[in-house]
């Protein structure tokens, strides 16, 4: 009978693919809410770069310049990179180390959650916080720092920096799989602050000692900052292709390291 098949199909759940997509989005939504409600994360990752920008870009560097562009413009790109790196490393590195080390990841893994939903959510959240930081910096720069940027360039800057979150998410993943729940925050800070300094995120790279300028060329934030600077008219060190290639290679390296940690976990027990 035709009537018997109709109620049956209404009971059948969504097709697998759209059901999976639905889970991914829900996972990302709750991951976002989770971090938004942790003031130490949401405030420190967003406020630090913004505060530094207000201090060095707007108050102290108002009339300064870095190469052909004003300091307030230069620093939108570099503090943007700094912010992206912080949001990504803390959400992934600290988040995963803690959830892995304190048993929550086991609860998730024992459930029928699609395994990649977990990582997807962390990446998406890092990108959302990254965009919040960049938009704030741009707004402040345009309103108070005399930053002149075309709408399309601003969009391009946003897209580049948010895309640039991926290598740092991968780096966070690798840290998260090898750091303990308690040591992860310290470890991230130990990596993230010197890396920012040496990559020219706080001062123009030209102001750094020569040998640090050489070291900077093997640091991922340097390459992302250069890509961002190109857009605002400040970057002139190396070609964009080289920067993208470096970041892509770095991402793969980190994912490879994270994978080793992931597989190591399979044979280990926690808690």
């Amino acid at each position: 009978m035709a009537t018997t098949s109709a109620p049956l199909t209404s009971v059948v759940p969504l097709p697998q693919s759209s059901r999976t997509l639905f889970i991914y989005l829900k996972e990302a939504k709750y991951e976002f809410l989770k971090y938004l409600r942790i003031p130490i994360y949401s405030l420190s990752t967003v406020l630090f770069p913004v505060m530094f920008y207000v201090l060095f870009g707007l108050l102290m560097g108002r009339h300064g310049s870095a190469g052909q562009i004003g300091a307030s413009t230069y620093l939108v790109a570099t503090y943007g990179t700094f912010g992206v790196m912080g949001a990504s490393l803390f959400a992934n590195g600290v988040g995963i180390a803690s959830e892995r080390g304190l048993g929550w990841m086991q609860v998730k893994r024992a459930s029928p959650m699609p395994p990649f939903a977990y990582f997807f959510a962390k990446f998406v959240v890092s990108m959302i916080f990254s965009s919040m930081i960049i938009l704030l910096l741009l707004t402040l720069g345009i309103l108070f720092g005399g930053v002149h940027i075309a709408f399309l360039s601003a969009l391009k800057l946003l897209a580049t920096l948010v895309g640039g979150a991926i290598p740092f998410c991968a780096m966070g993943l690798a840290i998260g799989y090898f750091a303990g729940p308690n040591s992860a925050p310290a470890m991230v800070n130990m990596i993230y602050l010197p890396l920012s300094f040496a990559s020219g995120l706080w001062f123009p790279i030209e102001a750094l000692p020569r040998f640090l300028q050489k070291v900077a060329t093997v640091l991922p934030p340097y390459h992302l900052a250069q890509l961002a600077l190109q857009i605002v008219g400040g970057g002139h060190r190396g070609s964009n292709a080289t920067h993208w290639e470096f970041l892509a290679g770095f991402t793969l390296l980190c994912l490879g390291i994270a994978r080793i940690g992931f597989q190591r976990d399979e044979g280990k027990t926690y808690g």
Partner: protein, 339 residues
């Protein structure tokens, strides 16, 4: 609720048919879910080592449909390892793990299982309803949120953040996450650890309700009373090996049934030869006698010693049985080691 009931029954019937078909039983038995001897999950000759440590040594364990199997043992006995193997969170060093006829890591198998694990930290900024909503979304046919909240006794707490809950309430949320997908098989790893008496009883009631609905449950515990109160079958595990198995009363019967304590002038050797006496021990001025039954021993004692005094008879509880079993096992181990 009709849809819930339908979900419960359909897979059970399928399993019954599959499992009974190959057996050549002459009389067709009426198989109620509770009696069915269908294995839904098993560890087969499983060995698991973590580096030098052998957590499980050649363990065979099967969980039968509709039962509540209590895996009872002291800390470090291998209970959690067994659960992790059955959940696919760890792989056996040797042997095989089977859940619903498949590998526990299969997505289809995980859809039919739920787990409450020991976890040190749960994201604290999400609300109870949000946690449940997310876990429910992983399953293809979850219970409605309101029903999960009701079963776990969380209705008044639905909008609280996890971090604002008490220990007992937190355990109830973890319990809710285990059951929200309406799974056929539940793993509860030390579900009542750290709970006060009130909260423990509440969780016991909730577990009994699930069992009544036809769910299969594996519960690990080092609370002997808990196994006694809930289990349909108990497996005692110590140092990675199964040392006893049976109903709670069978486990008790495996060691001395009764203990008699008395002050008597009879020589200890005479008492030791009495019918049904298993063990006699001098404890200060009194004798402690373990016997299968108390009455015949008491009769002989009273006949043999007119001046006998201070008689006490106690039943060996599961606690004593468990201690006896594990200490026997330990002394054997020591004996083997020194030889």
């Amino acid at each position: 609720m009709a849809p819930l009931w339908a979900d419960d029954v359909a897979p059970n019937q399928d399993l019954t048919m599959i499992a009974t078909a190959p057996r050549s039983e002459i009389q067709p038995e009426v198989i109620r879910p509770r009696d069915a001897k269908i294995t839904v999950a098993s560890l087969n000759h499983v060995r698991k080592t973590y580096g030098e440590v052998e957590a499980l040594k050649n363990v065979d364990l099967s969980i039968r449909q509709g039962e509540l199997l209590a895996l009872l043992g002291p800390n470090g006995a291998g209970k959690t390892t067994a659960v992790k193997l059955l959940l696919g969170l760890a792989r056996p060093t040797a042997g095989s793990v089977n859940v619903f006829g498949g590998d526990p890591v299969d997505a289809g198998v995980r859809m039919r299982t739920g787990a409450m694990l020991q976890v040190a930290k749960v994201p604290e900024t999400l609300r109870v309803r949000e946690h449940i909503d997310l876990f429910s979304s992983y399953y293809s046919a979850p219970m409605p949120l309101s029903e999960t909240l009701a079963i776990a006794g969380l209705e008044p707490l639905a909008n609280r953040k996890f971090g604002e809950l008490s220990g007992g309430q937190r355990q109830r949320v973890l319990f809710a996450l285990a059951i929200c997908g309406n799974p056929d098989l539940l793993f509860l790893d030390e579900p009542t650890v750290g709970l006060d008496v009130e909260a423990r009883r509440l969780l016991w009631d909730q577990i009994r309700k699930l069992l009544a609905k036809g769910k299969t449950i594996l519960l690990t515990t080092h609370y002997l009373q808990e196994a006694d109160a809930l289990a349909t079958r108990v497996v005692v595990i110590n140092r990675g090996a199964i040392i006893a198995e049976g109903t709670p009363s069978e486990i008790k019967a495996q060691t001395a049934g009764k203990q008699i304590r008395c002050v008597t002038s009879l020589p200890i050797e005479t008492v030791r030869r009495m019918h049904g006496v298993l063990e006699v021990r001098q404890d200060r001025e009194a004798l402690e006698i373990k016997a299968t039954e108390a009455e015949p021993v008491l009769r002989e004692l009273l006949d043999g010693d007119r001046s006998i005094s201070g008689i006490e008879v106690t039943t060996a509880g599961l606690e004593e049985a468990f201690l006896a079993l594990t200490s026997e096992d330990n002394s054997q181990q020591k004996g083997l080691g020194s030889n």
